[in-house]
Subunit: 188 residues, 4 copies
């Protein structure tokens, strides 16, 4: 499994976003497993809809990152029960690059629900992108209480849910990587 790559998308560009701290915990947990990863921050990929050559170059880079990934984790806050617009704009800018790759979702919300609703909407979008959304999903409530001082989760349940989710993403990634390669080499 040592050759897998599982980047983390930070799914909000809002100033003061607490999701950034959660993304750091997830990134660190993936690295500790010896799996290659990197942060894809939606704030670095603004989409204006105009024909800006710099923007086109950045989106080309995004597609390459997704194309070379074996799975993805998205850290996403819940805004009005749905996903942030800037995340959807970025997700919609690629398609085949996502196909048949596992997706882990870590949702963040200030309330007690912990983002279960944005998770469901995002999983449905990921099915349209032909991804494999995995169970369990991770739901972070009240970020400041959830994080400890050492860059981990204070809450025991969250620590376990994150580990289970990463186990599942990694397992699907390792199963699907050779299957995807074999599929792409088949004559049409």
């Amino acid at each position: 499994m040592s050759n897998l790559s599982i980047p983390v998308i930070l799914g909000t560009a809002r100033p003061g976003r607490e999701s950034a701290d959660v993304a750091a915990v997830v990134l660190d947990a993936i690295k500790q497993r010896g799996t290659a990863t990197e942060l894809i921050d939606v704030a670095d990929y603004p989409i204006s809809g105009t024909e800006d050559p710099d923007e086109a170059a950045r989106l080309g880079r995004y597609k390459e990152l997704i194309d070379s990934a074996d799975g993805l984790v998205i850290v996403v806050p819940e805004y009005n029960h749905g996903y942030p617009g800037e995340l959807k704009l970025l997700l919609d800018s690629a398609y085949e690059e996502y196909n048949h790759k596992p997706l882990g979702v870590v949702s963040v919300s200030s309330g007690m629900i912990g983002g279960a609703r944005v998770t469901e909407q995002l999983q449905l979008v990921s099915l349209a992108l032909e991804m494999i959304p995995v169970e369990p999903t991770v739901h972070v409530r009240t970020v400041k209480e959830a994080l400890d001082d050492n860059g981990g989760f204070e809450e025991e349940g969250l620590e376990g849910a994150l580990a289970s989710m990463l186990d599942k993403v990694t397992w699907y990634a390792s199963v699907m990587a050779p299957a995807r390669r074999a599929r792409n080499q088949e004559p049409d």
Copy 2:
């Protein structure tokens, strides 16, 4: 009912958007009922997340438009089973202004499903905004075939669905307008 205002939000800023033609049909149908309306084009309300004073002024204008509305119709294409990011960014920029007002959804898609999936995701977001999403919803497939040369819907079913939806939005708007005013005048 003659004093009601029911604006139409055009929910995509993509170049070449066919939803603009559908929004024009909806706008015209509302005007023909003698109800005040206007087009709110998401392309006119780009949200950068930066502290641009022009942007703040535009969003202030958006909130005023929603605040003075008695109901809304959103014309929205389906992108990967969900809503366009630019629409969600705009919707998330207000809250109380939407409360207790009816919402009609007209979805647009190139396939046969006609956007039933984005409609459901958008209705759930509208519940978080404390709106009243109405039945029926209108689903436009293959826009060029759906529109006739006179600015209406070619397909008889669509014409009827649009009329039923506008009947329902208008009815709820007329019922809720005095109820909202009475509620706002109550002492806390």
Copy 3:
């Protein structure tokens, strides 16, 4: 508002269902407001799909109950992110009787998510039934801890969420009751 009727549907028939205790709390809270209510237990309305005259009589009684209601509250556990089958069978046995009436949802789950997912699926079904699903919704985690010995909610947040939800259901019920009557008296 003293003439309103807001029944409570207990949405599971599973042996040992903890949702029954939650439904009792909700029923009591509605009574304390002086609003007429009664429990509609799905276990009393089994639907076999056969042409059993007793079953037809029971369903006739259910339709009458819904028809004379001004609003509904459904207490529902989350099974595999969705609603119990027996609840859906019962809900599907009526239609016009639900139209234009507010719906409050109280979800119950053993985990921390508190049933946010079944709430969303049920709200979408209620939109098809032309109901008005209200905010806030109430999410009960770990029932035994949530209930106190006096037939109320131990947790302060739950008590407040239940009160806010019942305020909203009652307000919509009082607004919509005369509007529904006026609508039904209009010539077609």
Copy 4:
């Protein structure tokens, strides 16, 4: 792939159900691929919630069928935007038996939407069951027009969508079957 088993669940027990004709077409298409299949009719698995030994025996048989399957196709009508209660009751009676197996959905509706909404609700339930819902999904409108006299789909688009969906279910089944076996043999 010749050893795969992909049963078809007929997801409604309503008298006069048109979905039965659609399920027959799907069953036939799977057989023509040389893949083992059989019909699982929800009408044969009524769930009363009582402690009926016959019922327990039937559910044991259902679990065995799912356990020995490598993938599933569910043919499901859309009732009030959701799934039939009898289907949910049956799905909820197993859990591990579904894990890590692909699911194809064929939805049936009398309207033009073709059941896109029940498909989304069912896919979310299938994620809770740790299945892999595949794209494309198949949406059958107006069953009598959709079926030809030879037990196939009249409409060309449906024929193609069904073939693509079965390709995908079969591919995932063949990839996941050895991966599931290897996973089950791992020491805990």
